[in-house]
Amino acid sequence: MFEAVARVGGRTQPVVVRINGQQPTFRLATDSLEKKALLDLHPALLDLMEIAATVFAADGAIPRGGPTRPNMGEDWYRRFDLEIPVRNPELWQRTEVAAALCEAVETLTGDSVSFRFMPAEPGPLQQRYLDFDPAGATFRADEVLLFSGGLDSLAGALERLATTSSRVVLVTHRSAQKVIPRQVRLGQYLADRFSGRVLHVHVLARRVEQAAADSTQRSRTLLFSALGQAVAQAFGARRIRFFENGIVSHNLPLSPQIVSTMATRTTHPLALTNIRRLMQLVVSDAAPIENPFQWSTKSEVVSRIHEYGAASQIPLAVSCTSIREQDKLYTHCGACTQCFDRRFAILHAGLAEHDPDEIYATDVLVGERLSERSVTMAVEWTRHALRLGKLDEKGFMESFGHEASRILRGHSDLPPKTALELTLKMHHRHSRAVHDVLENVLRERAADLVAHRLPETSLVRLHLGSGDALLQQVPEYLRRQFIREPNGDGDEVDEIDEVPQPGAPLRVRFYIDEGSHVVDVIGLASVTGRSARVPHALKPSFDEDRRNGVAPEDHQYRVGTTLPDLTDMNKGTIRKLVQRCRKQLAEEYRQLHGEPPPNTC
């Protein structure tokens, strides 16, 4: 029996994962297949499925902390140390294999993982994860398509079936009861239309008798890639394809509040590259994993469905993952980014008749948004999309440099410049699509907006305004920039290092910046604001004494309250400011030189 243990940082109780068998904690199986396998599964592939299932089970077992993200998201980033029995420990303990596995999991989840592998107890090599019928007919496939039943996977399956003679296996995760009937109907549609070329395999991967503590299932891609690889081997397929438009695949942060895997990386180029590398390391003839839509926008993907004559199937394809909010009438919440992506893409592709308003619990464009989350999503998703259209390469790197780096690493087969250009062009096209949809609303619903007939929290009113404040065009959202002070010296920089020496005379610079007094002590400190006003006020007398060659001990004594620039201060305030200035300079001196200054300033 397979039993793995996941020890979790900060918790005393480990997560025990038993897949199938007796007292299982996790169920992994396909529906009964009426076909027989062409080949037995490679032992390393069985190991990979069990490893991926263990990760998936542990991933779902541990919550990621609350939405306030206490201690800067400390609990979001979990730490797993996994002990897993495998058939070939030598393989999995190899440095490059272990590193590739960690990288694959960590990219998807944002967690930190380590693995320890031990020999599995002797027993039957084959686990019945894939329920073949040895007496069934043969199905020789060319490719495996991971089929979620959303618009992108529908478009992808259509494209492969309509433009090639490929025989395909659709692999679908039976994730939620509400979605299963639609997945089945879409699969049946494809099987009927492309007779004899489609086999639909449903996979169940679920915790047993325990709801997931974390329902986001960020490690799911690894598990389904492993299953896809197993199915590919069983049916002789040479390719595995995910279908996800590049915008969602990149899933750039909509706002600075979204960091790390708060934005999922389900089909991120880096995630797929990592998984591909892992599979190549453990299975010599692994089928490569690809995302053919990696450079397409959602609108372009949706257009393909129409192009291949299947627009009537759009209502069956579910994009929304807010399962709890779905019912028979509403299949889409209208409040999540998947719904925004879908609705804008369909409107831009001119396919609105196939995506009735009624399926959205909240109309994406003109519906009233009742929760703060829904309003925030509508504002941030749209701002982000429109802002992208204004970014050049440099602006993109400034805004998304860290994320761009991960995208570029996911396209290591391309020169970085090319990958960046393709990325930027795609995001520009997406931005244009969103812009065009809003421009169309502005044209068609201007009267409603002027007359305040649309809800105040509707997406279009939040962005376009209403009444007298109605914008005449789609708004522009500015790129965030550091505000740098103008460099009066042009590009010339003296090639010197400022090397302050303890006890050396201090050099100071006085100036006023945007109405605020500043005293720079070169290479030591900047005194700003009120603290800097006193030295500024004393400076004319000081300069005069120096010009006249007066020794420091004979400098003029000035009463602070009589100085022209300090008339709004009393004696006590001035004294406090002088003390503060001295304290700051003394402290900074100590921080720099590790010793107190020789004299008070």
């Binding site: 609350g66 206490p70 998201g73 400034e398 009113r461 920039q481 290092d497 090397v499 302050p500």
Partner: protein, 260 residues
């Protein structure tokens, strides 16, 4: 499937104060100052974050590497994966990759580490990119020349200031963006979403001004450490990062108290 999580502001008194200021139409600068006060503790935690420390180490060492005749090798010596003649894109991407490696190796992850990583890539792209003809048009020699300029006293003070300014604005936006959208609408703080542009600009200005405090200290510390030790190790970066953060936070506090 692309899924996005949103955060929620804590219900602490300090954050309730920020929301109160937003609701009552207080000046943008007051809201930003109050949020700086509320985020103060979290910002200071950055000093313990290995990704932040590594970002500071790279911030200090990348310009210094440009003084070498073999820029590529000097960058490789500080842990970046680049060729012999790196362009700006290579430099930014390799710095980001290095931070991901540190995150993995130290098994230490936090939102602050991510914000610090963003601040570094932004600073490299912006500070250096602004003096180059374009991201793609600049030659490797141009990139080295610009990086080298950042290594001298005047350059490094602006360079480090920009990093800490981006860190501050990124951290404050990380919090504030959880609630600003619900301030949009007639009779609210922002009549429409475009009105937030001005608020964001104020936040960026505030962050920029608050980091003036580290400008002189940065150049003095950089020169003194370089001439004393010959370079900047992780310990030096941790020291510098912690002091710069402390100064910045103290300045934010002073500004919050309307002491300017």
């Amino acid at each position: 499937m692309g899924h996005n999580m949103l955060g929620v502001l804590p219900r602490s008194r300090l954050w309730r104060d920020v929301v109160g200021l937003l609701d009552t139409g207080a000046a943008d600068s007051d809201v930003v100052a109050a949020s700086a006060r509320a985020a103060e503790k979290d910002m200071l935690r950055a000093g313990d974050d290995p990704v932040f420390v590594e970002a500071v180490r790279l911030l200090l060492n990348i310009p210094l590497a440009a003084r070498s005749e073999d820029f590529g090798q000097a960058l490789r010596d500080i842990g970046l994966t680049v060729g012999n003649r790196p362009e700006l894109l290579d430099l930014v991407a390799s710095a980001a990759e290095r931070l991901d490696t540190v995150r993995r190796e130290t098994r230490s992850r936090s939102d602050l580490g991510e914000i610090a990583a963003r601040a570094l890539t932004r600073t490299l792209s912006s500070s250096m990119g602004d003096t180059l003809p374009s991201l793609f048009g600049a030659t490797p020699d141009d990139v080295q020349a610009v990086a080298r300029r950042m290594s001298w006293s005047k350059g490094i003070s602006g360079f480090t200031r920009e990093f800490f300014g981006s860190l501050v604005s990124g951290t404050l936006s990380y919090w504030l963006d959880r609630t600003l959208a619900v301030q949009i609408g007639e009779g609210r703080r922002f009549p429409s979403a475009t009105a937030r542009n001005a608020f964001d600009s104020e936040l960026d200005r505030f962050s920029s001004e608050a980091t003036r405090i580290i400008q002189e200290f940065s150049s003095g510390w950089y020169g003194k450490t370089l001439h004393g030790k010959g370079g900047f190790g992780t310990g030096d970066a941790a020291t510098f990062g912690a002091v710069a953060l402390k100064k910045t936070v103290s300045e934010l506090r002073a500004r919050g108290a309307k002491d300017v």
